[in-house]
């Protein structure tokens, strides 16, 4: 037999169906929000790490042109090295369509069947590829606009164009997603490599014997080993040390999770406030019953237990509803993130600990948040509960001049402030909903604005890299035969590494020589300044350059080893913000002077007369054809518009996610608004009776409530903007730093403000209209005895 108190809980829940549904929904929102975050986090971090660690990433890679057996054996014998693997890495291009090429990273595998380091997973087609065949990374297949079985021209810097058959696809979760890099990753054999170049395997991958996740230890081992290798007469072209155990795109995943966390957290706050509101209203509505129970002997603690039991039951129901939805959301979001970052979710199970956490959140937060209104309600004296409740007002003085206001309007305004605690909660609920809505649309706007800003920094359409320095006259001849070129600038590029005081070297960065009087590059300087045309040995660095050494600042001098082995000192005079790899900028003339013009690869930044994508693609093809005829070897032909489009497309997915969140908030916020407004009206049913008794018409009473709702809507709207703007700034900053390495542009979606204003007012008026209509239809006697 059920305890009578439990029966009362159960029947109260059944009796107040709409409030029960709203309370369950309020709790469920919080659980769905936090549950989605917890579940998605556990799936994504585990799966990303699993995907990455299954590739058995090398501790470091040495790029050496003349690797031989002796060197391999020598490195193998080093006690600090556990594994060593010989491979090849070449950059080149693959033909997308006639005269249209895209960058290719060609990985040459010594033994496809016994790959130990930097592994990838076979997906489709022939494996291993035969001579004359190439496997493409699964995402890269789309980037190359190719399909399995097709033949495509491939060229390395030797400019030997060879048709290779795409034999299949692999999944390489260790590489950055091909769409993000706008690159094609290809995997082939030594034999196929020999068709493309005379050069052979040039990459030595190593795995340290111990502390394989200790970056410092790895750099020490690599530093010692590189000295030993060079002492034996080998020339190391480059060394790459990836951060151990961390997927190259872990930060992008963090940004996606950050978005989820932010909205999960905000949903939890919204849910908590909504819950406090609903529980307060439930306790308020039960005040008379509390008085009766106290009259017949109930102690305050018994009343508290009774209503906490009510909340507990609602929490359990909410958990049962919300957990499957949170599971659905988290799995959907995990799938979306995994597709974006090119890893496979092999197992989307949730650890038991996460279920325990969410059950604890789903029970503890509702109990804690309802504790105050319940205790406050339970402490009421019998006299207050039975004889005085609903007739007392807070001592709020609003000194409006009575003559300047319509008396009914004055009643509406004064009624709003009658119950300070309740009105604060009502406004807070609606304002938080509005702040989330506004933030989600603003962040989306910020992303779009950032992409626009990126577009306005680099005003060229084609970024062309040539194999060797080219005489200007020859370029003029080539361009004379190409239509639709508005202008072009000649830049240069070389690579460098920072030499630290302790003799160690940084990872490689690009040193770009910018045309002195460039008009198509508007650097976004965030600190210091851009260089003057005649200035020498000064550089402007991209903000992510500081990832190489965080101690640097404007005014510091850095020692750089350039690719001709010259060590030169440069002064940092400015910091520029843009996406891309760590880069430093110098004047083109200065670059040529420092490294010698023969060591500078020529970059051509070309502006198309016609800016539409088809015209630019056509121009890029013409350039390919003409340069080929002129004997100018292109190593990269990059359509910046296409890249930006790809970037924009993917960010639009995030923007869509934010818009989806915004609509979710409309529903939730609307419900919050509707419930709080309904409560406002329901609690004043007696007052409605009094007004009717003194002659107020139904329309006049409804009008009072609608005016009140309108004022509450306006106040909440103003607060939601005041709160939403700093949240937008905060979310934009964090998201931007994680994804772009710089803050998002501050975006304001003004139409979002209007939408929210409209929603607030419409919901507020409708939400108060329905209960007010119901209340005015009661007789005076019924309203005065309303419970």
């Amino acid at each position: 037999m059920l305890n009578i108190q439990f029966r009362k809980i159960f029947r109260d829940i059944i009796k107040s169906k709409s409030r029960t549904i709203l309370t369950i929904l309020a709790i469920a929102i919080g659980i769905i929000g936090s549950g989605s975050v917890l579940f998605a986090y556990s799936i994504l971090m585990r799966e990303m790490n699993k995907n990455y660690m299954q590739t058995n990433p090398a501790s470091a890679s040495f790029y050496i042109n003349n690797i031989d057996e002796n060197l391999v054996e020598y490195v193998k014998s080093n006690k600090e090295i556990k594994d060593i693997e010989l491979a090849g890495f070449y950059t080149g291009r693959i033909e997308v369509s006639k005269n249209q090429w895209i960058g290719l990273w060609l990985f040459v595998i010594d033994d496809f069947n016994n790959l130990k380091l930097n592994k990838f997973k076979y997906e489709k087609g022939n494996f291993p590829p035969k001579t004359g065949e190439i496997l493409l990374e699964r995402v890269a297949l789309g980037v190359a606009e190719a399909s399995i079985g097709e033949e495509r021209l491939v060229v390395l810097s030797d400019n030997k164009k060879v048709k290779l058959k795409i034999s299949g696809t692999v999944h390489a979760p260790g590489e950055a997603p091909a769409w993000m890099e706008h690159l094609v990753y290809g995997y082939t054999t030594k034999e196929t490599l020999s068709l493309l170049t005379d050069r052979s395997l040039n990459e030595l991958n190593i795995m340290v014997a111990k502390d394989s996740l200790d970056y410092k230890h790895i750099t020490n081992v690599v530093s010692d080993l590189s000295r030993e290798i060079e002492s034996k007469g080998y020339k190391i072209e480059k060394i790459a040390i990836p951060y151990p155990g961390k997927h190259p795109h872990a930060s992008q995943l963090s940004s996606l999770l950050f978005l989820l966390q932010t909205f999960g957290f905000l949903a939890l706050i919204l849910s908590t406030i909504l819950m406090i509101n609903l529980i307060s209203s439930m306790v308020a509505q039960q005040t008379r019953q509390i008085g009766i129970m106290k009259t017949i002997g109930a102690k305050t603690s018994q009343i508290v237990r009774l209503y906490l039991g009510n909340v507990l039951l609602l929490s359990v129901i909410s958990l049962i509803i919300a957990i499957p939805i949170a599971l659905l959301f988290s799995r959907g979001y995990s799938g979306f993130s995994a597709t974006m970052l090119n890893f496979t979710i092999m197992d989307n199970s949730i650890p038991l600990t996460e279920y325990i956490k969410i059950i604890a959140i789903g029970i503890i937060i509702p109990l804690l948040s309802s504790l105050y209104p319940i205790i406050r309600g339970a402490k009421i004296t019998v006299k207050e509960a039975l004889y005085e409740y609903g007739t007392k007002t807070n001592d709020v003085k609003i000194n409006f001049n009575i003559n300047s206001f319509n008396r009914i309007l004055l009643l509406s305004i004064r009624s709003i402030f009658r119950k300070k605690g309740r009105i604060i909660l009502t406004i807070a609920t609606i304002a938080i909903g509005g702040a989330i809505f506004i933030t989600s649309l603003n962040v989306g706007e910020g992303i779009k604005k950032t992409i626009d800003k990126i577009k306005n920094i680099a005003l060229y359409n084609i970024d062309l890299k040539l194999k060797s320095p080219v005489v200007f006259d020859k370029l003029d001849v080539a361009f004379a035969n190409i239509q639709n070129v508005e202008k072009y600038e000649t830049w240069g590029e070389t690579n460098g590494v920072i030499i630290f005081d302790n003799g160690k070297q940084s990872n490689e960065f690009s040193l770009i020589g910018v045309a002195e009087n460039t008009t198509i590059f508007k650097p976004n300087i965030i600190n210091g300044r851009w260089f003057l045309p005649e200035e020498e040995n000064v550089i402007v660095v991209r903000s992510n350059f500081f990832g190489l050494n965080t101690k640097y600042k404007v005014g510091d001098k850095v020692k750089v080893k350039l690719n001709n082995n010259i060590i030169e000192e440069f002064k940092i005079i400015g910091v520029e913000q843009f996406i891309g790899l760590p880069t430093a900028f110098i004047s083109y003339k200065n670059l040529q002077k420092v490294v010698g013009s023969e060591n500078v690869s020529t970059i051509l930044k070309i502006v198309s007369k016609k800016q539409d994508n088809d015209s630019v693609t056509y121009l890029a093809k013409n350039i390919e054809k003409e340069f080929d005829e002129q004997g100018l070897i292109i190593t990269d032909n990059f359509n910046t518009g296409e890249y930006r489009q790809a970037l924009e497309d993917h960010f639009l997915i995030i923007v869509s996610f934010l818009v989806m969140m915004a609509f979710f908030i409309i529903i939730v916020g609307g419900m919050a608004l509707a419930s709080t407004m309904s409560i406002q009206v329901i609690e004043r049913t007696k007052e409605i009776g009094i007004m009717k008794a003194i002659g107020a018409s139904k329309i006049q009473i409804i009008h009072i409530f609608q005016q009140e709702s309108f004022f509450i809507g306006v106040i909440s709207f103003v607060i939601s903007i005041i709160v939403g703007l700093p949240i937008t700034y905060f979310v934009g900053n964090i998201f931007g730093y994680i994804f772009f390495k710089f803050p998002l542009s501050f975006g304001l979606d003004i139409k979002g403000f209007f939408i929210w204003f409209g929603i607030t007012i419409v919901f507020a008026v409708i939400a108060s209209l329905l209960p007010a209509m119901k209340a005015v239809s009661l007789t005076v006697k019924e309203t005065l005895s309303y419970e």
Binding site: N3, I4, G297, V382, L386
Partner: protein
């Protein structure tokens, strides 16, 4: 203190602070009620009769003065202690019945026993049924209050007031919301309670109800002006 009296009201005053100034509801009231007495309290609206009744029931507290019931200084009790004391010693009957709407008739009667831990769990239903029989409502035990008439609800409220077998029954205009025929039968119930040994204090407006009582107090402007 005279131990022959169950209820001792000594020099009780009650005043309220309003924006217009201090309003005195009760002025230095002294009242002694013996066990098994049936006392009706009468007076005009605003005379202080309900306030006096509420103070005796422990629902309200005096501004000045002492209330001693069965040798316990009630005016000194905390709100929680008052609840428990009231649950065990006082049965309250209101004009508007005040039954809990989501509990059935029998559950409404069993609830005070649950709160005050009166009798063993298994015997509570038996007692509730006996009380319902006493007020003639045993056939309605599983109904919800809003399915009953006013008179029936008041009978249930009386049964609930008796749940923990209190020595005092306090009723604030229990017939004020009932027709005359029903009111008479309710008054008869109160009369029976008094005969069974309960001390009954009742506020009423209606002079013709007094025949059930053995003592009538008349209040005017917060003072006892007649005690017969």
């Amino acid at each position: 203190m005279n131990n022959n009296f169950l209820i001792n009201v000594k020099g009780i005053s009650k005043s309220f602070q309003t924006k217009a100034g201090v309003v005195d509801i009760l002025k230095n009231v002294d009242l002694r009620v013996a066990e098994k007495e049936f006392v009706t309290i009468m007076g005009k609206s605003g005379s202080g009769k309900s306030t006096l009744l509420n103070i005796i029931a422990g629902i309200d507290k005096p501004s000045v003065g002492e209330l001693v019931i069965d040798n316990s200084p009630i005016h000194k009790f905390s709100e929680s202690r008052l609840s428990l004391w009231r649950g065990k010693n006082v049965g309250v009957v209101f004009q508007f019945f005040q039954l809990l709407p989501t509990l059935t008739v029998i559950e409404n009667i069993m609830l005070p026993m649950d709160f005050c831990n009166f009798l063993s769990f298994s015997k509570r239903k038996e007692r509730a049924l006996a009380l319902l029989q006493k007020v003639g409502m045993e056939k309605h035990s599983n109904k919800l209050p809003d399915t009953l008439s006013g008179g029936e609800q008041q009978r249930v409220a009386i049964a609930r007031a008796l749940a923990n077998d209190p020595s005092i029954i306090i009723a604030d205009e229990p017939t004020g919301n009932l027709d005359s025929h029903t009111a008479a039968s309710i008054m008869e119930l109160f009369g029976n309670l008094s005969k069974e040994g309960k001390t009954v204090l009742m506020v009423t407006h209606e002079r013709n109800k007094i025949e059930q009582a053995n003592r009538t107090i008349l209040l005017s402007d917060g003072e006892i002006v007649s005690d017969k």
